[in-house]
């Protein structure tokens, strides 16, 4: 059910998912442990994307710029200015927010295909900017955040984000916060208005809502989550490069969300997880793995346009948020 406070069932399901993720780290072999860490960070990215695509009905083709803004906002300050990790993370999120404010101010005047093109162009400009500023970003080649840079003091302890255990739990913490925020937000009055905008924007205006302002706030929140994912990605895995600003990284969250189920809270995690393993397994057999990914997506769109959880919600579990 949308637009109302989470029921006990909903709280239970999300609690169980987070608990399962917490326990999995003790069971999983090192390889899958590493993959799941990455998937959780990417799921944060997808969750942010889903707020705009799934709940507000705005299809952006430029979200890589928000991911990359977070990545560079954290990476550059930690690398060049030797900022401590938490400050770097915050500066990454703020960079994403600032970029979203500028892009949103202009792009939200358009809708539909025009919005896709405008966001894609902004993202392309951002990508070129990361190449242009190669003195600082080292462009395509990127730069590595050394283990020393990724240590942070917590009271008397020093946590190294290069350690798998720390990495896993940091990713889980971030994902947990974003997931809970998403569930809460979707059930809030504001979430209901966003869904109304997706369904019928004109009617929403005639109920007295400033739809532009609501879309702007949705974009800010979406971008903040995506930037947080980018910042975490850089800080946890220690590499910052302009590949993350390419169109490929704008399309990815779209695919994850569509696969898992747009406008479902757990769809982004499920989609990112499935896609990551799909690519991982397929690339073991063939270098043309993207061909098969594409094929699977076509089949998915034809038969399950609402994604895995969206279809499940339609057929069986109507209470799924």
């Amino acid at each position: 059910m949308i637009g109302r406070p989470a029921s006990a069932r909903v709280v239970g399901l999300h609690g169980a998912v987070l608990a399962a993720l917490l326990l999995l780290q003790f069971i999983l072999p090192a390889y899958h442990h590493g993959i799941l860490t990455r998937v959780m960070v990417l799921a944060v990215y997808a969750t942010g994307y889903n707020i705009l695509l799934g709940y507000t009905g705005l299809l952006s083709l430029g979200h890589a710029m928000f991911f990359a803004a977070g990545l560079y906002g954290a990476g550059l300050t930690v690398y060049h200015l030797a900022w401590p990790v938490p400050l770097g993370f915050i500066s990454g999120v703020l960079a994403g927010l600032a970029l979203a404010a500028i892009v949103g101010f202009l792009a939200l005047r358009t809708v539909g295909v025009a919005f896709m093109i405008v966001t894609m162009m902004f993202a392309q400009a951002f990508y070129l900017l990361t190449l242009y500023c190669a003195d600082y970003t080292r462009g395509d080649e990127g730069f590595v955040l050394t283990q020393d840079m990724r240590r942070m003091a917590l009271g008397d302890w020093t946590l190294s984000l290069a350690e798998p255990v720390i990495r896993y739990n940091a990713a889980l913490l971030l994902f947990g916060i974003c997931l809970i925020a998403c569930v809460w937000w979707v059930g809030s009055p504001m979430g209901r208005v966003l869904i109304a905008i997706r369904e019928n924007e004109e009617r929403t205006t005639m109920l007295g809502y400033h739809t532009y302002a609501h879309k702007f706030i949705a974009l800010l929140i979406s971008a903040a989550m995506c930037a947080a994912a980018g910042a975490a990605y850089g800080l946890l895995f220690g590499y910052v490069g302009s590949t993350f600003a390419t169109i490929h990284y704008s399309i990815s969250p779209l695919l994850w969300v569509l696969l898992g189920g747009a406008a479902t809270t757990l769809g982004p995690l499920l989609g990112a997880l499935c896609m990551f393993y799909l690519v991982d397994i397929l690339s073991g057999y063939t270098t043309a793995y993207l061909l098969f990914v594409g094929l699977i997506l076509v089949l998915l769109i034809v038969w399950f346009p609402k994604g895995i959880l969206g279809t499940l919600r339609e057929r069986r579990l109507q209470w799924l948020p």
């Binding site: 637009g3 406070p5 009055p189 009617r203 005639m206 109920l207 007295g208 400033h210 739809t211």
Partner: protein, 251 residues
């Protein structure tokens, strides 16, 4: 007689679409608490006029006053959300994928926010919202369908849901654009009772083609012809007006 401030007043209001004059220098005054019917042949400019009033269209010239305030340059969401003008669409416009309760909730939470509900506790707010939803659905007789998907309702019930959404906005002025279109006779009768009940706390501007409904409900009638006001008066006066008869009633 001391003049009462009209709730709604338009001064010299016009709107052209290219060379077509849809609304032509209209001076309309609606007093608080009345049911005003707006009638006229197809293409007379009725819907265009109310679109100018609720802000979905900008006028080519002229001004719109609401409760004495010039609202000509206020966007639609301000007129609806803050000033208290509710517009019920001529073509049914609801959120088909949401439940009836969610449809009404969207309107109700806007009205509560306007009334200053932000300062109350969460629990209080939620209770007020739920009460407001139930009340609005109750008034149109859809309370037992609250959890149904709006798109699964019959056409007549969808129209009533629209009205419920407008009621939940707790408007000062309720604009109903051909509300009885597609309703059965029994539903029309219930609808007339509903409008009479509404008018105790709101003013109603009613666009309607169904003459028995207009004659039964309206305190005053304004006849629009070719975008201009042809006549205005009580139902009896309008019925007796020869100009109206030739232009509209075709007699």
């Amino acid at each position: 007689m001391a003049a009462v401030t009209p709730l709604l007043a338009t001064h010299d209001l016009s709107r052209h679409f290219g060379g077509l004059v849809a609304v032509d220098h209209v001076d309309l005054e609606v007093l608080p608490g009345e049911i005003r019917a707006l009638i006229g042949p197809n293409g007379a400019g009725k819907t265009t006029l109310v679109n100018l009033i609720c802000g979905r269209l900008a006028p080519s010239s002229g001004t719109v006053f609401f409760a004495g305030e010039d609202i000509t340059h206020h966007p639609a969401h301000v007129r609806v959300g803050r000033k208290g003008i509710a517009y019920t669409f001529q073509m049914t416009s609801i959120f088909g994928n949401l439940s009836c309760a969610d449809n009404v909730a969207l309107a109700a939470q806007r009205a509560l926010a306007r009334a200053g509900g932000r300062h109350q506790t969460r629990k209080h707010r939620r209770a007020a919202l739920s009460a407001s939803i139930t009340e609005a659905l109750d008034r149109v007789g859809l309370a037992d369908r609250a959890e149904r998907r709006a798109a699964s309702l019959s056409y007549g019930h969808q129209r009533l849901l629209e009205v419920a959404m407008s009621l939940a906005l707790q408007p000062k002025l309720l604009i109903l654009d051909e509300p009885t279109q597609g309703l059965s006779d029994g539903e029309i009768e219930n609808f007339c009772h509903l409008v009479k009940a509404v008018v105790t706390d709101a003013t109603v501007l009613l666009i309607e083609h169904n003459m028995p409904v207009v004659m039964a409900l309206a305190d005053r009638i304004t006849v629009l012809h070719h975008g201009a006001i042809l006549a205005e008066g009580t139902p009896e006066e309008i019925r007796a007006n020869t100009a109206v008869q030739s232009a509209y009633l075709g007699r």
